[in-house]
């Protein structure tokens, strides 16, 4: 279960043989890779259109907002914390961006920055309460989930829509031939992976998650890094909200991002991040996000009713946990 902790260290120019071995290793560490490949194959055979470029693009765009939040959330979980408030922060971020762009006629940049600032504020409240006051992250962010949703509905009781063509750029334009949300998600994934591999704080994240007391006695600042991760998670959730608002050109305070926190957490956990902290990898998170995106899309193509889709998603999480628990015992 050491996944990314050991992967990036050591040789900088791996030999081809090492690469092949690394591939096998990756498969052993991420059995989800195999499951994902099988699932894609089954969906392609049954629908015949799953691998069409248009459909893949749809999957990528759907998965993008999930990935943007899943990466910082995964880092937070690795360091032993949790953020359940991201669904509500996403809604508030989308509303603030939409309100600035649509009703205040601000430039798209100002609209997005406004959303990010609100997300940072929510993250800072979570971070201060959890990291500096030592309150339980589960309780604090569960409370914030409800409180921020209530705030969003109080501030924006009516649905917002028609944010203008400028703001639509965020969700609809293409950068280097890739949809903007997918491009942003790719940047977030790369940044997350580089952080874990190359930043000194990346190691600290693991150390704090594995053994907080030992990390403290090693002279590591055990508050600052998780606090920063709470802020970044809030920012990421608000950014995802702004992107969703731009794609849909409308936001409703009561329903936007409802249940999103659980979907993101599912993706993170499916990706092999341990809820107890201390282990996980960005590659795993990517796989978890893609798995959920493909599952949802394939089942929709097969016209499976929504409730069955939810059942499939939930079953996948429990099956994944069971696999992670029993798998090593069976192979040994």
């Amino acid at each position: 279960m050491t996944t990314a902790t050991t992967a990036p260290a050591g040789r900088l120019t791996p030999s081809p043989r090492a690469l092949a071995g690394g591939g096998l290793n990756a498969l052993r560490r991420h059995p989800l890779l195999l499951v994902l490949a099988l699932m894609v194959l089954v969906f392609q055979l049954t629908t015949g259109s799953f691998l069409d470029p248009g459909n893949l693009r749809g999957i990528a765009t759907d998965a993008a907002t999930l990935a943007i939040v899943a990466v910082p959330l995964a880092l937070l979980v690795i360091s032993g914390y949790l953020d359940l408030s991201v669904g509500s922060t996403l809604a508030l971020g989308g509303l603030v961006a939409g309100w600035l762009a649509g009703q205040q006629h601000q430039s798209p940049a100002v609209a997005v920055l406004g959303a990010l600032a609100v997300g940072a504020a929510v993250g800072a409240v979570n971070g201060i309460l959890c990291c500096y006051f030592g309150l339980s992250a589960f309780i604090v962010t569960l409370g914030m989930l409800t409180a921020v949703r209530g705030l969003a509905q109080q501030l924006f009781p009516l649905p917002l829509s028609s944010f203008g063509s400028g703001f639509a750029w965020l969700g609809g334009s293409r950068i280097a031939g890739i949809d903007a949300p997918v491009f942003i998600a790719a940047l977030v994934l790369v940044a997350g992976a580089l952080f874990l591999a190359l930043a000194p704080s990346g190691r600290h994240v693991f150390a704090i998650g594995v053994n907080r007391e030992a990390a403290y006695l090693s002279g590591i600042n055990i508050r600052r890094t998780p606090y920063a991760l709470f802020v970044v998670t809030g920012v990421a959730a608000a950014l995802a909200g702004a992107i969703k608002a731009s794609v849909l050109d409308s936001v409703v305070a009561g329903t936007s991002g409802a249940g999103f926190e659980l979907t993101v957490l599912t993706a993170v956990l499916l990706g092999g991040v341990a809820l107890t902290g201390g282990s996980g990898s960005i590659l795993g998170v990517l796989l978890g996000v893609l798995f959920l995106g493909c599952l949802q899309n394939g089942l929709t193509l097969l016209s499976v009713p929504t409730f069955w889709q939810q059942m499939a998603q939930g079953t996948a999480l429990v099956a994944g946990a069971a696999l992670a628990y029993f798998g090593p015992r069976l192979t040994r």
């Binding site: 050591g10 190359l198 190691r203 594995v210 053994n211 090693s218 002279g219």
Partner: protein, 563 residues
């Protein structure tokens, strides 16, 4: 009622080829206090655990309450009338005194707990042990001594006929210890058979009717209390009439345990300068100077460690040695005094302050405070060095690897695999990783504090760790201060040893006087509760004169080993 008598015959127990108990006999009639002595690892705990049903013995019989058993389950042990009061009490802090006494045997009426009846009976039991607390008090709010009495009352409620007390005064203040001694005497007159495990000879003299000393799993000494001297007991505990002196003392050893003499004996040892490294130590510049240092449950203490010197802190569990180290390192708050590293004054409010000043600590509880089990060996050894090695905020992977390789060679890490998770290493190699965190090339540590440096470490790795620490001191001039409860370790590693008792430094041993026997008699005799009669030469001069005469602080000392 059953016959309150304990008779153990030929009890043996092995753990993976090591004989922890080898044919031990122990008989305690009703109304007797039997003291059980022996040094760590002598087999006392194993004996108690066999009696309590935690381990099944390999051979032998336990007769208790009139019936004979070859093995006991915990439930059978309680039913037979055995009650064991461990050092770490098993009371539930959040429940009341009465609830604790009746835990697992609640009195019910109409399907609910009959609180009033329980409290009435509890009050009677508390009176029997002369506890001052009320049945309705929350146990978590009580001082240590009262909690212990609650546990004894609980034992009485189960009509125990054999009471085992495992180092009962280790966590108690002087006054509480004296009160406990009276309770033990009461219980003896009430007809209980009492097994009293202790390290303190003064307690043996005050309380015991008979004594058994265990060494290496065997009965090394058995007598009624009048039939022995302190010297005989210490010799039985140590097991060597001719203790091996530290260093290469030329000629015969002076000031050894078997040589009773006056205080001038000590002066003579210094004059002799038997161990030359110590003489050098005196001339070397002090690296760590601790003056009037006070903290939770200890102090004031005076400690000075020279450049390249290795000094031991030896004392029983609860004596304060761990707290002194933890407070120096900033993980506990000091309440007074000064600490200097070289010429610089240091105030460490948290570990990172101490580290910035060049003070590092390797904690005793490796699992909880030292190791990151699922992280790689390299991460474990280099964690605090990653940021200093990084350039412009980016990790220097090649440099990290270089530092790790040099370190793993220096400490003899096996296997020397940087990516293997720390959990996969043996205890000794895990300790090398935690130690390596402070002694690698990327760190500059002026003062290294070690708490039980080889706890849970096999014999081979133990020697390697001693060598690493010794060469660190001699080659890099690091000042080393370590705490240990193992006299063998102190003799092997320390150049000088301070004796810690009840939060004070009560003596110092150096050179040829630093022997296992001297260490044992120093702590066994350094105790407030008993009169310090006929202190032999080996109990050493008090380095800080006021330490022994000043009254004990009222702060209750809790057992620190696990805390």
């Amino acid at each position: 009622m059953t016959d309150p008598n304990l008779r153990i015959r030929g009890l043996s127990k092995s753990f993976g080829g090591v004989k922890a108990l080898d044919g031990v006999d122990l008989t305690v009639p009703a109304g007797q206090v039997h003291a059980l002595l022996g040094h760590n690892g002598a087999g006392k705990s194993t004996l108690i655990k066999c009696l309590g049903g935690a381990f099944p013995p390999d051979a032998g019989t336990i007769e208790v309450g009139g019936s004979s058993h070859t093995r006991l389950s915990p439930r059978e042990s309680i039913a037979a009338g055995v009650a064991i009061i461990f050092q770490t009490l098993s009371v539930v802090d959040s429940l009341t005194v009465a609830e604790n006494i009746f835990l697992g045997q609640e009195w019910t009426r109409y399907g609910t707990v009959h609180r009033r009846a329980q409290e009435e009976v509890a009050a009677g039991l508390l009176e029997r042990v002369a506890a001052t607390c009320s049945p309705r008090d929350r146990v978590g709010d009580l001082p240590m001594g009262q909690r212990q009495l609650v546990e004894i009352a609980k034992a009485l409620s189960r009509s125990a006929s054999v009471l085992v007390l495992d180092e009962p005064t280790a966590a108690l203040s002087g006054a509480e210890s004296a009160a406990l001694a009276e309770r033990v005497e009461d219980l003896r007159t009430q007809g209980l058979a009492i097994v009293y495990v202790t390290h303190l000879l003064a307690e043996v003299e005050r309380l015991a009717d008979a004594v058994t000393v265990l060494r290496d799993g065997r009965v090394a000494h058995h007598s009624t209390v009048a039939g022995h001297t302190r010297r005989e007991l210490v010799d039985a505990i140590v097991g060597r009439p001719e203790p091996v002196a530290h260093g290469t003392a030329a000629g015969r050893t002076t000031g050894g345990a078997e040589e009773p003499g006056g205080a001038d004996e000590l002066g003579r040892t210094d004059e002799h300068g038997a161990a030359d490294d110590v003489v050098e130590g005196i001339t070397r510049a002090p690296r760590l100077t601790v003056h009037g240092f006070r903290g939770p449950g200890f102090g004031p203490v005076e400690i000075s460690v020279a450049e390249g010197e290795i000094v031991g802190l030896y004392g029983l569990i609860g004596s304060g040695r761990t707290r002194i180290l933890e407070t120096l390192f900033g993980s506990r708050r000091a309440s007074g005094g000064s600490v200097r590293v070289g010429e610089r004054a240091v105030t460490a409010a948290k570990p990172s302050d101490a580290l910035a000043a060049g003070i590092a600590l390797v904690p005793a509880d490796r699992r909880r405070q030292g190791l990151f089990p699922v992280l790689s060996a390299q991460d474990n050894a280099l964690l605090p060095s990653i940021r200093p090695l990084a350039r412009r905020g980016v990790r220097a992977l090649a440099a990290e690897r270089r530092v790790f390789d040099a370190l793993s060679q220096a400490v003899g890490l096996r296997p020397a695999r940087p990516r293997l998770s720390a959990a996969a290493f043996s205890g000794g190699n895990q300790q090398k990783l935690v130690l390596g965190r402070w002694i690698n090339q990327a760190r500059r540590v002026e003062v290294l504090l070690l708490d039980e440096p080889t706890q849970g470490v096999d014999v081979g790795a133990r020697q390697e760790i001693y060598q690493v620490v010794s060469s660190l001191a001699s080659q890099r001039g690091t000042a080393v201060l370590f705490a240990s409860s193992d006299p063998e370790e102190v003799v092997a590693l320390a150049q000088r040893c301070l004796i810690v008792s009840r939060g004070r430094i009560t003596g110092e041993l150096r050179g040829a006087e630093l022997t296992e026997a001297a260490l044992l008699s120093a702590v066994h005799e350094a105790d407030d509760t008993g009169p310090a009669t006929s202190a032999p030469a080996t109990s050493a001069p008090a380095t800080s004169a006021p330490a022994t005469s000043a009254p004990t602080t009222s702060a209750p000392m809790t057992s620190e080993g696990a805390a």
